[in-house]
């Protein structure tokens, strides 16, 4: 089996690097070095992914976790570094397949960082849960490639493929807790519904292709901005929204989220609730905003309202922490959709900031949860957290910090994230949505508070063990805390960057005023 793997790896390797050289003769059909620079992080990631695959068979199961994890970590860090390098080469590559701009660089960085932290927090988890490391890390790395491509692709087909890469890898990762029926079930549900939604998305792409004769975002936006929009484009947008709405868990396409999050391994939940979601939001921005999809305003308005309300409502009575956080992630997706409904030049930066902040706190929260869950993820009920504040104060404090960030208490990233969405919404006079958002976040405070109350105000239950936090997980949590705090105390730099790259997005497209005008027309 490993042999087969090795061979496939080699073929893939050869495909991705030798072929271009073979084609080198045909002039004007040679990818320039700049082109490779513009997909440098993807290249690095897949390189290390293969490295993991190769090393895996050489080590014995017992102590492969550490070494493989280290390799994967190094890979992500290298990719992270290469992101900066990539950012030096703005522009399109591979014949208008990908565009490197502030926007994509931002999401590259975000997604890879998430992957890095998740890998870090998985070190111990894999040992405790007895999960094979090789495929695990490999899949994370390759999945990250997909996410990165999602954020930079400007060609619907490439977007589709990237989407599939990230999805399939997460389908598999969700089912990694092999001994647990829940895990495989979540994997199945995720897979079937995922491909179901992807089919919708694909159909949308087809219709968009039919309506505009192209699948390139720029070309599409040209058509869609030019006066008369074909009716087909509306249907296409609808279908694509269904597909992407599923990926970002917007009501009523959210149904998969709680089940999948509950069944999947905790660190993976941390990954898939942030990484693919961030990428999906990026795609949504490209498809809806950059391509200036028609008739999207009320669509977003309603689904935003529904999403946050339903998410919070359901979360009120959850007793399983993972499930509770799943619903909360639905609610947060709703908050982000509010920003989508705002005027693009305001909303986009808010979206970017929110995804970043949410990633920081959510990955952190799940890192804590996954450490505390223990073998077989036995302890994920809220009651198991009773008295945590007394038994391991630091862990409890960090979790409290993340929960505060969820609630949106100042000097946490969550506050500014919410703040920016609010200000974007208010600046574009979405008073109704603002009120719904405000009420929602007030309600949401209740169920986050439940956990805090459990940890600090209830007596410990004896049988729940508390193992000391291993170094790697501690480091991961620390990184998340630092990030959340940084975004909460000095959001300036990130925000400037987001706003700036919003200009990229807006300038790639026609003037933002045009699209906002089209929005205004829809009200």
């Amino acid at each position: 089996m490993t042999l087969a793997l090795a061979t496939t790896t080699m073929t893939a390797f050869s495909q991705s690097f030798l072929l271009p050289n073979l084609l080198a003769q045909a002039q004007s059909s040679i990818p320039q070095s700049a082109d490779y620079m513009r997909i440098l992080p993807e290249l690095v990631l897949s390189l290390f992914g293969m490295l993991v695959m190769i090393v895996d068979p050489l080590l014995d199961e017992e102590n492969s976790h550490q070494s493989l994890g280290t390799i994967a970590l190094i890979g992500t860090l290298a990719a992270l570094a290469s992101t900066f390098w990539m950012a030096q080469y703005p522009g399109t590559a591979f014949w208008n397949m990908v565009r490197v701009d502030g926007f994509s660089a931002f999401f590259h960085f975000l997604v890879i960082a998430i992957a890095a932290v998740v890998i870090l927090s998985s070190f111990e988890y894999l040992r405790v849960q007895r999960i094979r490391a090789g495929e695990y890390y490999g899949l994370i790395l390759f999945g990250t490639v997909g996410m990165c491509l999602m954020s930079s692709a400007i060609e619907l087909v490439l977007i589709f493929i990237a989407l599939e890469i990230s999805s399939i890898s997460t389908y598999v990762l969700a089912g990694f807790r092999r001994r647990d029926a829940a895990s495989s079930e979540s994997s199945l549900k995720y897979f079937l519904l995922g491909s179901f939604a992807t089919a919708f998305f694909l159909y949308g792409v087809a219709l968009m292709f039919g309506a505009t004769g192209s699948t390139n975002i720029d070309a599409i936006s040209q058509v869609l901005r030019s006066g008369n929009v074909p009716a087909l484009a509306y249907v296409a947008t609808a279908l694509m929204f269904v597909g992407l709405g599923f990926k970002v868990a917007a009501v009523p396409f959210h149904v998969w989220t709680p089940d999948v999050y509950e069944g999947a391994p905790a660190p993976i939940v941390g990954l898939m609730s942030t990484g693919p979601k961030a990428a999906a939001f990026a795609v949504l921005l490209r498809v809806l905003v950059e391509a200036n999809a028609p008739g999207r305003f009320w669509l977003l308005w309603v689904s935003a309202a529904l999403t946050m309300t339903l998410g919070n409502l359901c979360a009120l009575v959850q007793d399983n922490v993972k499930r509770l956080l799943a619903y909360s992630s639905i609610a947060h997706a709703g908050y982000v959709l509010v920003a989508f409904a705002a005027r693009p030049e305001l909303g986009t930066s808010a979206v970017m900031f929110y995804t970043a902040a949410y990633a920081a706190m959510n990955v952190g929260a799940f890192a804590v949860v996954s450490h505390f869950a223990n073998a077989g993820e036995k302890y994920v009920a809220i009651e198991d957290y009773a008295g945590l504040g007394r038994r391991s104060p630091v862990l409890a404090a960090t979790l409290t910090f993340f929960l505060m960030s969820f609630i949106g208490i100042p000097i946490t990233g969550g506050f500014f994230a919410k703040f920016y969405i609010l200000s974007a919404a208010l600046k574009s006079d979405l008073v109704g949505l603002t009120l719904i958002l405000v009420l929602n976040s007030a309600v949401a405070a209740y169920y986050y508070l439940r956990i805090i109350v459990m940890m600090y105000m209830r007596e410990p239950r004896g049988e729940v063990p508390v193992t000391p936090v291993p170094a790697a997980a501690a480091l991961a949590i620390a990184v998340c805390v630092a990030a959340t705090l940084y975004l909460g105390v000095l959001p300036g730099r990130v925000l400037d960057y987001a706003a700036h790259s919003t200009h990229d997005l807006a300038s790639d497209t026609a003037t933002p005023s045009a699209s906002s005008a089209s929005l205004a027309a829809e009200r």
């Binding site: 249907v235 009501v251 009523p252 149904v255 359901c314």
Partner: protein
């Protein structure tokens, strides 16, 4: 207006005494305590005398600004003191009588564990009372006003072990608060319309206003509200209820606070505000009516009381009624005159009664007394003087003052013969029940059981009343430290009235009551011819009334002691009602207290607070949880259902978009 830097010392001295005793009394010897208390109080008295001696009508009034107190925006109030003829009289009365009663208390309270507390409280009371009297503006007056209320609260509840005493104290404070409420509103009106509370400025402002004929007006409102305050402090209808209960306090307290000084504060305040009342005839009339009714009403109750102190309490209420009657008809000077004499003889009465109670071991029920004149001659003598005085026999003090009041009630422009008639009837009743008391207490033979049996166990907590080692056994005379004040007061209640002869007192006070007095004088010169004749006639009538009262009491309680019971029987319900003070307390309980408590409990607390607001909060929380519980069943766990949701949602989205497209 001439400054007098000593004014502020008068109140401060007793305060110092109170502070010293209050803080260190617990650990210092009784002699030290006595020295401190009497020392500072005496100093105050001495200072008052000095001030009085150096008082010259020419340079009056005196004033002194001690310090700023409150300032907000343009409105400002200072700690400032004021001395004119009126406050001089009050000053002397308060310090003098107060000092005497201090001395008396030394004897009366010596054996009480709380001796130091008692002395401290008394001094504290003196401080507040003097502040009240010497205030230059209504707010400083209000300090004293509330302060004496506090002092009386503390002193009534002095034996707090007794629930009745504690309750009485609370009652006194709260009823007073109701009066103060009116007082406050009056102050707010002044602030709003005059922008100041300083007497001189307020009155100056008032002078510019026209006399209000048709009742409803600013001054009338102020006057009525002030009267509410006065009624609270001076126990007038309908707020008199606290005073009888206040007798739970030690007797010196009853004498000092609830007879001589504090309760008269209302009269003083009304007199002080004469400038306002003069221009609010409506308010004046109300004052007069209230006073008259109270006088009669309280007197009738006094008939049927058996507790010696209760009798005196109701007589106090009724005498205060006289004073208000006087003020109400514009005869402020007469009111103050009676106030002064009343301070003497009523203080004397109480002290004597105290000495009686003290002498027979804490018994207060007159039916258990009798024939005490042989046991305690001095007390008997002084008591008799006091009784005759209050009954209004010439030439004793009350004769002049009461007669003055009745005459003014009849003659003054705002007066009428009705006031006079009721006044005379009251005088008759007064003399009747006072002599009833006199006969029951001192004549006949001693009806009390052996003293220590007579101890009512409920008094166990009140050591002073039976603290004497030798108080057991036969009734006995009190020590001289107690009798001394009695004698002095007796002398005062004999001669005290003479300064009023020929309207000297009135002319002395005239500058204070400018307008009012002026009016009266004018009126007198007019009705001079008729005046003199009628005055003597009325005088005779009232004296006869007093004599009749004496005779009646003599017949009923000395000659034919069995008669009262029969009369009581024949009167039946009426007697019942009278002896139960017309059930007023019960009425208030039913009308106000109970509804308040029950209403607050059932309607407000359990009803609104828990039933509505909290319920709403919790219900909405439950509702949210319930909704959430239903909504999450959308999450059936079945894959096809999920697909169904997705498909349906997709359909909705498509439908909307198609509509957008074709629109």
């Amino acid at each position: 207006m001439t400054p007098n830097p000593y004014l502020w010392l008068v109140p401060i001295l007793p305060l110092a005494g109170a502070a010293i005793n209050g803080f260190f009394g617990r650990r210092s010897s009784k002699n030290a305590i006595t020295a401190i208390a009497l020392g500072f109080c005496g100093l105050a008295f001495f200072l008052a005398v000095v001030i009085a001696v150096r008082f010259s009508p020419a340079s009056a009034p005196y004033y002194f600004n001690l310090a700023h107190w409150i300032r907000s925006g343009s409105f400002q109030v200072d700690f400032s003191f004021y001395l004119d003829q009126l406050s001089l009289v009050m000053l002397l009365v308060v310090t003098g009588v107060g000092f005497l009663i201090h001395i008396y208390s030394v004897g009366y309270m010596w054996d009480d564990d709380g001796y130091y507390r008692f002395m401290a409280y008394l001094n504290l009371f003196m401080f507040f009372m003097l502040t009240l009297v010497l205030a230059k503006n209504y707010l400083v007056m209000f300090i004293g006003w509330e302060g004496v209320g506090l002092a009386s609260y503390l002193l009534i509840g002095f034996w707090f072990i007794k629930d009745s005493a504690a309750a009485a104290g609370k009652k006194a404070f709260i009823v007073n608060r109701i009066g103060d409420f009116g007082f406050l509103i009056a102050l707010f009106l002044m602030i709003k319309h005059f922008g100041t509370l300083d007497f001189t400025h307020v009155f100056a402002a008032v002078q510019t206003l026209p006399t209000e004929t048709a009742g409803a007006g600013l001054l009338t409102a102020i006057g009525l509200l002030l009267m509410v305050g006065a009624a609270g402090k001076s126990a007038q209808i309908p707020l008199y209820v606290w005073l009888p209960d206040a007798m739970e306090g030690p007797t010196p307290v009853s004498a000092l606070i609830h007879a001589a000084t504090m309760v008269t504060a209302g009269v003083y305040m009304v007199a002080r505000s004469s400038a306002i009342f003069d221009r609010a005839p409506m308010a004046m009339m109300v004052v007069a009516i209230v006073g008259t009714l109270t006088a009669l009403f309280a007197a009738t109750i006094g008939i049927a009381q058996t507790d010696i102190k209760k009798v005196l309490a109701y007589s106090t209420v009724s005498q205060l009624g006289y004073m208000f009657m006087a003020c109400g008809v514009g005869a402020f000077s007469a009111g103050i005159f009676h106030l002064m004499t009343h301070a003497f003889f009523k203080g004397l009465l109480f002290l004597a009664a105290g000495s009686v109670i003290h002498g027979i071991g804490g018994e207060q029920d007159m039916r258990k007394m009798g024939g005490l004149r042989v046991y305690m001659p001095v007390t008997f003598l002084t008591m008799s003087i006091a009784t005759f005085t209050i009954a209004g026999f010439p030439p004793l003090a009350a004769f002049f003052s009461k007669d003055e009041i009745l005459w003014k009630a009849y003659s003054s422009p705002n007066g009428s013969w009705v006031y006079w008639l009721i006044g005379v009837i009251t005088a008759f009743i007064t003399s009747f029940y006072m002599f009833r008391l006199w006969f029951l207490t001192f004549f006949g033979d001693y009806r009390g059981a052996i003293a220590h049996d007579s101890h009512d166990p409920s008094r166990a907590g009140a050591p002073a009343t039976h603290g004497h080692g030798h108080s057991h056994g036969d009734p006995h005379e009190s020590p001289w430290v107690m009798l001394g004040p009695l004698v002095i007061l007796a002398i005062l209640s004999v001669v005290g009235g003479w300064i009023g002869i020929g309207g000297r007192f009135e002319h002395f006070l005239a500058p204070v009551f400018q307008s009012g007095a002026a009016a009266e004088l004018a009126h007198e010169t007019a009705g001079e011819a008729a005046g003199k004749g009628t005055e003597t006639l009325l005088m005779l009538i009232s004296v006869t009334a007093a004599v009749l009262g004496l005779l009646l009491a003599w017949t009923l309680y000395l000659r034919r002691p069995q008669l009262p019971a029969r009369i009581a029987a024949s009167l039946g319900t009426l007697y019942e009602a009278v002896s139960h003070k017309y059930y007023i307390d019960e009425l208030y309980a039913v009308l106000f207290v109970k509804p308040l408590i029950d209403g607050s409990t059932t309607i407000l607390w359990h009803g609104v607070d828990q039933g509505v607001i909290d319920a709403a909060v919790n219900d909405s929380a439950d509702a949210a949880r319930h909704v959430s519980d239903n909504v999450r069943h959308m999450q059936s766990g079945n894959l096809r259902s999920y697909a169904g949701w997705v498909a349906a949602g997709g359909a909705v989205v498509i439908a909307y978009m198609v509509w957008m497209g074709v629109r």
